[in-house]
Amino acid sequence: MSSQIGPPSGGPISATSPDASTRLFVPDNPDGRPDHPEASSAKPVRNRTAMSPRTLFDKIWDSHVVETLSDGTAILYIDRHLVHEVTSPQAFEGLRMAGRKLRHPEATIAVVDHNVPTSDRTQPIEEPESRNQIETLERNVKEFGVPYFPLLSANQGIVHVVGPEQGISLPGMTIVCGDSHTSTHGAMGSLAFGIGTSEVEHVMATQTILQKPAKNMKVEVEGALAPGVTAKDVVLAIIGKIGTAGGTGHVIEFCGSAIRGLDMAGRMTVCNMAIEAGARAGLVAPDDTTFEYVRGRRFAPKGDDFDAAVAYWRTLPSDEGAAYDTTVTMRAEEIEPSLTWGTSPENVLPIGGAVPDPANEADEAKRAQLERMLSYMDLKAGQKIAGTPVDVVFIGSCTNSRIEDLRAAAAVAAGRKVASGVRAMIVPGSGLVKAQAEQEGLDRVFLDAGFEWREAGCSMCLGMNPDKLTPGQRCASTSNRNFEGRQGPGGRTHLLSPAMAAAAAVTGVLTDVRELNALPV
């Protein structure tokens, strides 16, 4: 972790700085202790020089290093800071207490998403703590001059839907937010990662963050996806293969023809769940698909500026021969419509698969954990996952709430009815997505089929707002985490694609969408 990559753009901090207790110089190996062998595996393998071929991650990193400290920690410049109501109040309070300013309000955007009800917005928010968090954000953005999309604005939505949609998140940028799914914006070809509240405060005060360079991981998916297989299935298959810690310490670059073939929404779905593979961030190289997506968006460069930006963005993709610390390859044809069965995102099965038997697990602690998962999920070892009845279907979240996701779900829902006893919810990712869907008539398709058509927000992804599972309910969900209690205490989550979720809604059971003869385009 401590090796320095690339030449620092400023020099290292002078070791002759007058006050040793306040400067950022840190002596190397201060008490002469040797490195421990297990630590060495955590270092990037390459010793890059200025002439070496670089990865997309290397290029974005290098262009944002303000200083490199003597131990390899970089002061990394941040282009965009996305702020929401849950992880920011303590950071604003910290600024206030220290008498510090927010350095660049015009590089910052605030929205409310986690706490907001997705029902009638004209009524006051009932839950007092949620209301307080939202009102606190509104006071803070006013005090610090931060641009803000309020609850009743058509631009309001999930922060990771809003950023790309508004042209706030652009290729080559560094983007942070106090939310782990900030990895979503990596689909733009930007370095985007989640940070904690202390770091939120650090970015507010300095427009930088302290970081060591991550390792480079390449996940290459070559070939053509079969009909009915979507970006969600791709990323679930990847997590199933490398595990929830497979990407720890790495930034994953998703590449290969199957990734290049995805539209921007699909790439966002894949990068969104890079964090579920343990990675710091996910990336897709910017290309014409990216540039066409960006063109004309509200905060994107316009006219000659756009052309100048594109010329720069075209220099970003990884160089031929760039080195990766870890490489994983997969064939697109082998990926099937997939879903999770357990309480970790790595518990992935193809829809034709069966729940694993803990008896086959040699490690005692892992066996106990599998048994606990089966019991929590109320599943039996060896049972076929298809055909399991569901109580709730949730189509939404920063993973799958874009217009393309809603179209895919609508293609399955059209002309069908939500199965009796099933509650099925559609929660668009933003007010703009909702308006677009209504313009296309998707709301009618869903309402006619018996789905709820709701307002934008994080909704049932995380159980912080009124949309929650009750104990024991089983949910087919297009969100990103199936942890115990994630969607509400005692709730049981199966992660899957919008098309698969819609198939579960209309059949009442976990279903192979390919059997419905209504494959989304």
Binding site: M1, S2, S9, T22, R23, L24, D31, R33, H36, E38, A39, V66, D71, T73, I75, Y77, V86, T87, Q90, R100, E106, H114, E127, E129, Q133, Y148, G167, I168, L170, G178, D179, S180, G196, T197, S198, E199, H202, A205, T206, Q207, T244, A245, T248, G278, R280, F299, D305, F306, A309, S344, A365, Q369, G463, M464, R481, F483, E484, G485, P489, G490
Partner: protein, 207 residues
């Protein structure tokens, strides 16, 4: 932030992999606007039964582990969300150190910012330390950050690795914002150069 120098304390064994941040602090407790007061909700779903009573099987509900300041666990501790409420909840409960074979990156980072020391040690070493911890109050572990060793009850020392900058900040109890702001000139120079070289960059201005 409180300094972290040497800690001699009861250690609690939690032999489970993938302890996620929703387990450490469920989302419904994230509605606070403060950093303190979350200790009572730490490990809520494991610690309390449905009726709200304590689950006697959970390690932190048992003596002497109610007073544990060190937690030992398995792989990928702190996976999931970026919520700093996770280390805030651990700290408010009284934990100052977590030892595990691996940690999720954001949790690892957040811990240091709050005076909690996360220590990576191989699985078999964690299992050995858990056996020590299972002996309860008679079996305290000592974590010496300056020397980078965990000292077992029998006096055996287990060395660990820690990033020099983070170690320095923890030992001194320093806030890194103040330190970074000392580089204000470099940040301004960076911004000026970019404004000149890349004039196409946009800002977020609402009408």
């Amino acid at each position: 932030m409180d300094k972290f120098t040497t800690l001699t304390a009861i250690a609690a064994p939690l032999p489970e992999a993938n302890i996620d941040t929703d387990k450490i602090i469920p989302a419904r407790f994230l509605k606070t606007t403060k950093r303190t007061g979350l200790g009572v909700h730490a490990f809520d779903s494991m610690r309390y039964r449905e009726d709200g009573s304590e689950n006697p099987d959970f390690v932190l509900n048992r003596e002497p582990y109610r007073n544990a300041q060190i937690l030992i666990s398995h792989e990928n501790f702190g996976c999931g969300s970026s919520r700093e409420h996770a280390p805030w909840a651990l700290l408010d409960f009284g934990l100052r150190c977590v030892i595990a074979p691996s940690f999720a990156d954001i949790f690892f980072n957040n811990s240091f910012k709050n005076g909690i020391l996360p220590i990576r040690l191989p699985r078999e070493v964690c299992d050995t330390l858990m056996e020590d911890a299972a002996q309860g109050a008679n079996s305290r572990l000592t974590v010496d950050l300056a020397r980078q060793v965990v000292i077992r009850p029998d006096g055996t020392e287990v060395p660990f690795e820690v990033d020099p900058l983070r170690k320095h900040l923890l030992l001194e109890g320093l806030d890194d914002i103040g330190q970074t702001l000392q580089q204000e000139q470099s940040i301004s120079a960076f911004e000026a150069k970019r404004a000149k070289d890349e004039p196409w960059r946009t800002v977020i201005a609402l009408d």
